[in-house]
């Protein structure tokens, strides 16, 4: 870790200004930033501490919407009664993320900004080629250890998987992220790697995340987050699905369906093909399993991550079926 200067922001305005300083990085819970600084990936020149900003950690929920301040802790959001009743998928995604200690430190703003777990990205002294870290340097992962890499949304330049759970639930329910002046859909906030994998978010100098807003819906109220992994806890997803379901009055026909995938794509991945295929259909196991296969349209594997192509549709199907059972 190299020396840096430390600034404690006393207002949102000051923090946003400070982000324009050369090599400036915001410090929230620090669970990503400190980790990446230790492995030599993050080399901030100025660390702008936003943890003392007042009012940025509020959580407000009603049937119409949830608003999460950027500094709200993962654990507080997960445990919030309103979130649990109106947005269970969001609460469950957070409960299954990281560990209790990390959730108590980490903020939801920082969570959206977490970086990939690609081991090559995280080890600059041994792997100099990484387009995400050093544009144009190549990609060490392609041809290497790829068990955890993405099968959707990849490019020639980068196949790194987006590892977060919260954002997967957010894109399912059309959440937006507030950046000061601009408000973006979370789906648009995250960028595909394309030729510029170093750009992961649509965020500009002088901007910071101030809040996340999730519109309420019947599908959000009847929602779940299913996360599959080798270890029961404290591991990123092998594949996960955030699913919300609304049935017609007959209790069997699907009126609205939201499906997003985690653990398999380069960004939180909305699976609209699955949604469209099932809307208006009667919910039954065969139909659901068949339609869930559409989630993998366009998937490309790199050897060891092939299993994700098999696994993800099953996760989607099981999540939908589970919601179908809970009348």
């Amino acid at each position: 870790m190299r020396d840096f200067s430390y600034v404690r922001a006393d207002s949102i305005e000051a923090a946003r200004k400070a982000t324009a300083l050369p090599g400036a990085m915001l410090l929230a819970g620090g669970t990503t930033l400190v980790d990446l600084a230790k492995c030599g990936v993050a080399q901030p020149e100025t660390v702008v501490d936003i943890t003392h900003l007042k009012g940025l950690d509020t959580i407000s929920v009603d049937a119409g919407r949830a608003t999460l301040g950027a500094l709200a802790k993962m654990s507080h959001v997960a445990d919030h009664a309103g979130i649990k009743s109106h947005f269970p998928a969001v609460s469950e995604a957070l409960w299954q993320a990281a560990s209790a200690q990390l959730r108590n430190m980490a903020t939801v703003g920082g969570n959206l900004m977490q970086r990939t777990r690609c081991p090559y990205f995280r080890d600059p002294s041994n792997f100099s080629a990484c387009n995400k870290r050093e544009p144009g340097s190549g990609c060490s992962a392609i041809g290497g250890v790829t068990r955890g890499h993405a099968v959707l949304g990849t490019s020639q330049a980068c196949i790194a998987m987006y590892p977060g759970d919260l954002a997967t639930a957010l894109v399912a329910f059309d959440a937006t992220v507030h950046l000061g002046q601009r408000v973006l859909k979370v789906d648009d906030f995250f960028l595909l790697p394309g030729d510029t994998p170093e750009r992961e978010h649509d965020i500009r100098a002088g901007e910071m995340i101030t809040a996340i807003e999730i519109p309420g819906s019947a599908a959000a109220r009847r929602s779940t987050y299913l996360k599959v992994r080798d270890r029961q806890s404290y591991e990123f997803a092998a594949a996960s699905a955030a699913v919300g379901l609304e049935l017609e009055a007959d209790g069997r026909t699907i009126r609205d369906l939201r499906v997003a995938l985690g653990g398999v794509a380069t960004k939180p991945w909305r699976a609209r093909a699955v949604e469209e295929a099932l809307k208006g259909k009667v919910l039954d196991e065969d139909t659901v399993r068949k339609a869930s296969g559409l989630a993998m349209e366009g998937a490309v594997d790199h050897g060891a991550n092939h299993y994700k192509i098999e696994l993800a549709p099953r996760v989607v199907a099981r999540a939908i079926l589970k919601l179908g059972e809970t009348a």
Binding site: G40, D123, G144, R231, Y307, V315
Partner: protein
């Protein structure tokens, strides 16, 4: 040096639930006496020493797996802020070669802990010492290394690896195994693989080294103070007595902390070169490359049997990886050759050199992978002949050691099978694979046995009876969480006749009476024996004084002996004075009684003794004399496998274990459970993943190298079926720590087969192997 005195752990007295006085005797369930110090943070670990003038060292590692270092450019690092010293193979002081852990003399006159020839990625090639840790890290990043790279052999499956080197001493043969196999009506043959695994102790490796003239003090977590002190003494050409190793607490070792390593030499050398104490703590990634984990292994197990499942022949071939510049043999037939009765047997083993750090000991080296082979293979045989997996084990029960052809000292394995099966409800098992389920979860029940030899060595201890009536024990042995402090307090308390609360145990300082390695589950047997002897002779002296000293209140009694119990001394029939130990010592004008005891053969020379404590050459073979001595266990495990996801969760474990007499059942149960948990990790999660182009482990951190979390572990029930085994140790215990991991992975693999009908022979059993 650390002191554990239960009297100061005031929580004990506040807690009414702490059991009765018998907890403090040998065999009692006394809680860990070092527990309160650890929980309150009072326990000071090696890296927490505060020393004046402490400088900080960090290592620079090779980023290639094979080749030579062409040049190291240290100019930028040398001028970086705070830098005191930059060490390369050219600038580090001369260090002498040291003998190995068996005591074999060094092959080279000098030893360079910094490599010019690189044989694995992560090998140490330079070091930076600075005023602060952060300055050292920053400067280390400025060291520029250029290499001439050569092709590396990355692992056992590398095409360049070849068949390896035959290890003839591993060959075991009786009968005619090949012919008997060819003639057998039922034949099975399969290959089983275990991966590179790491000890992953919470506390990383590292040390603080301080020179005062020619005297070296090292604070370093250590499973073997005297062995490591010898290495330092030889490296730096000073007398053994000049090196003091201090290691009162160890944050997990699991076999990895018994040797002084390259980084240890660098820290001690830089302290000497600078004339300042130096601290060096390896980063988590460096903990995956600075010393070896368990070697990856491959085995084929071939069994020829009758239609009744009775084994007629076992042919076993094994391979383990070792380093290009170091030899590690993981004895792969150690369980294969003794678990089942067979008239014909053949086993051979090779090792294959690959570009890795020398593999090392991880819980039950040898027995652990060995059991994975034979205990899966016999399960396959059970299905082949249609016999229950438990029944087939009983049908092939070895009534004596099939290899040594000697009687077992004790073997409560049949009792273990019976007790485990009963508690588990094995009789309710539906025999067909894939025949038990709960919703989407396929349920499987598996069984496997395990064993570990009783390794014996000698130890030394001092026991003092002090003026205040308390008893003090000193030994250079260690407690890495297994409970040495506690059981030695119990041993001294019972032997002298005082409450355990009145015993102070001091461990972890090489100035104390000596002890061999804490490895191979030998320490408890060795040290309870030594303390028992020292305490007995202290007691004899004490009673002798009470009888014979004219100032003693017992003098007039003219008794032959006296009773010491609960801190008081009385006549055998209670017809005389009743005084406390303190009062008696006061009456005879003594401030202490002190006795040293050891378990070495009488008339051992000073040289024998030195060798015993500083090498492992003198451990006593487990088949010495008329008996073959082993601990035994049987694991019954239930798994749930998700039919869609292939995820395996262990939902129930019942294990019955024979460790002989338990000095403290509570601590033994904890160790068994720890072994079982580690076995669950090995079966389902743990695997060092190598980038085959770079020969480098890429999951070298605790987020990516997965060990089980609490959520992965169900309630584990352990049952002791042991009986005292006086052929194994002075007080009748066998081994505890290594045993319980042996057999867990095959029990899980067997359960997974029962659940799914899929035989996974390649650990770990990750989800993609089942979907």
């Amino acid at each position: 040096m650390t002191v554990h005195n239960i009297r100061h752990a005031n929580t004990r007295h506040a807690d009414s639930r702490h059991g009765d006085a018998s907890d403090g005797a040998v065999g009692g369930r006394l809680s860990r006496v070092d527990g309160p110090a650890k929980i309150t943070g009072a326990a000071k670990y090696a890296f927490e020493q505060q020393l004046d003038g402490l400088a900080h060292a960090v290592m620079v590692e090779a980023t290639i797996a094979a080749g030579t270092v062409r040049a190291i450019d240290t100019r930028a690092a040398e001028t970086a802020p705070g830098v005191l010293l930059v060490l390369t193979p050219d600038t580090i002081m001369e260090i002498k070669g040291a003998s190995d852990w068996l005591g074999n003399p060094p092959t080279q006159k000098t030893y360079s802990p910094l490599a010019r020839t690189v044989t694995y990625s992560g090998q140490h090639i330079a070091a930076v010492v600075a005023e602060t840790f952060e300055q050292a890290v920053a400067a280390a990043a400025l060291v520029e290394v250029s290499y001439d790279e050569t092709p590396a052999i990355v692992d056992l499956s590398d095409a360049k690896a070849g068949d390896g080197i035959p290890i003839d001493v591993m060959t075991k043969e009786w009968g005619d195994a090949e012919a008997a196999f060819a003639a057998a009506p039922v034949r099975i043959c399969a290959a089983y693989n275990t991966q590179r695994e790491y000890q992953a102790a919470m506390e990383p490796h590292g040390l603080i080294a301080r020179w005062q003239g020619e005297e070296l003090t090292i604070w370093e977590p250590s499973q073997w103070l005297d062995g490591m002190a010898r290495t330092y003494a030889e490296w730096f050409g000073v007398p053994f007595e000049n090196v003091r190793l201090v290691s009162p607490y160890i944050g997990g070792g699991f076999g990895s902390k018994a040797l002084a390593l390259a980084h240890s030499a660098v820290a001690a050398a830089s302290a000497k070169m600078l004339g300042r104490p130096v601290k060096l703590v390896l980063t988590r990634p460096q903990n995956f490359t600075s010393y070896g984990g368990r070697a990856a292994t491959r085995q084929t197990v071939t069994i020829g049997a009758g239609r009744d499942g009775k084994i007629q022949s076992i042919v076993h071939r094994g391979v383990n990886e070792t380093a290009v510049d170091g030899m590690w043999v993981e004895p792969l037939a150690s369980v294969t050759s003794i678990m089942y009765a067979t008239p014909n047997f053949s086993s051979k083993q090779n090792v294959v050199r690959v570009n890795t750090v020398v593999p090392g000991a991880k819980r039950a080296p040898g027995e652990n992978p060995s059991a994975f082979g034979i205990e899966c293979a016999i399960d396959e045989l059970a299905y082949e002949v249609g016999v229950d997996p438990l029944e087939i084990r009983l049908r092939n029960y070895a009534e004596q050691d099939p290899e040594a052809k000697k009687a077992w000292s004790t073997r409560q394995l049949r009792e273990a099978f019976a007790a485990g099966a009963e508690r588990f409800g094995w009789s309710k098992r539906s025999p067909k694979p894939r025949s038990m389920r709960d919703g989407h979860q396929l349920i499987g029940w598996g069984v496997a046995a395990g064993t570990y030899p009783v390794r014996r060595a000698y130890g030394e201890a001092i026991v003092r009876i002090l003026a205040d009536g308390s008893v003090e024990v000193e030994s250079s042995s260690i407690d890495m969480g297994q409970g040495t402090y506690t059981i030695l307090a119990q041993t001294a308390a019972e032997t002298v006749g005082v409450p355990a609360d009145d015993v102070v145990v001091k461990l972890g300082d090489s100035r104390f009476p000596r002890a061999g390695v804490a490895g191979g589950s030998r320490l408890a047997g060795v040290m309870t024996g030594a303390v028992y002897k020292a305490a007995t002779s202290a007691l004899d002296q004490f009673v002798g004084l009470a009888i014979s000293d004219p100032r003693s209140p017992f003098h007039a009694l003219q008794a032959n002996t006296l009773v010491v119990a609960n801190g008081r001394i009385t006549a055998p029939r209670g017809d005389g004075p009743d005084v406390s130990i303190a009062e008696l010592l006061a009456s005879v004008g003594r401030d202490r009684i002190e006795a040293t005891g050891d378990t070495m053969p009488a008339n051992s020379s000073a040289e024998d003794r030195y060798k015993n404590y500083t090498t492992i050459a003198t451990s006593v073979p487990h088949t010495e004399g008329d008996y073959s001595r082993h601990s035994w266990c049987a694991h019954f495990i239930e798994v749930r496998v998700d039919e869609d996801f292939g995820t395996v969760r262990v939902s129930r474990v019942v294990s019955a274990l024979d460790s002989g007499r338990l000095y403290n059942p509570k601590l033994a149960e904890s160790q068994w459970k720890g072994g079982i948990i580690m076995g669950i990790g090995q079966a389902l999660l743990e695997e060092g993943i190598v980038d085959r182009r770079h020969g480098r482990i890429v999951n070298n951190n605790l987020a990516d190298y997965l060990v089980p979390t609490n959520a992965d572990i169900p309630d584990i029930e352990v049952i002791s079926v042991g009986i005292p085994d006086l052929h194994s140790s002075v007080l009748g215990g066998k081994g505890v720590g290594e045993l319980a991991i042996v057999g867990v992975a095959p029990a899980i693999a067997n359960a997974v087969f029962h659940a799914t009908g899929k035989r996974v022979r390649d650990l770990p059993i990750t989800l993609e192997k089942l979907i």
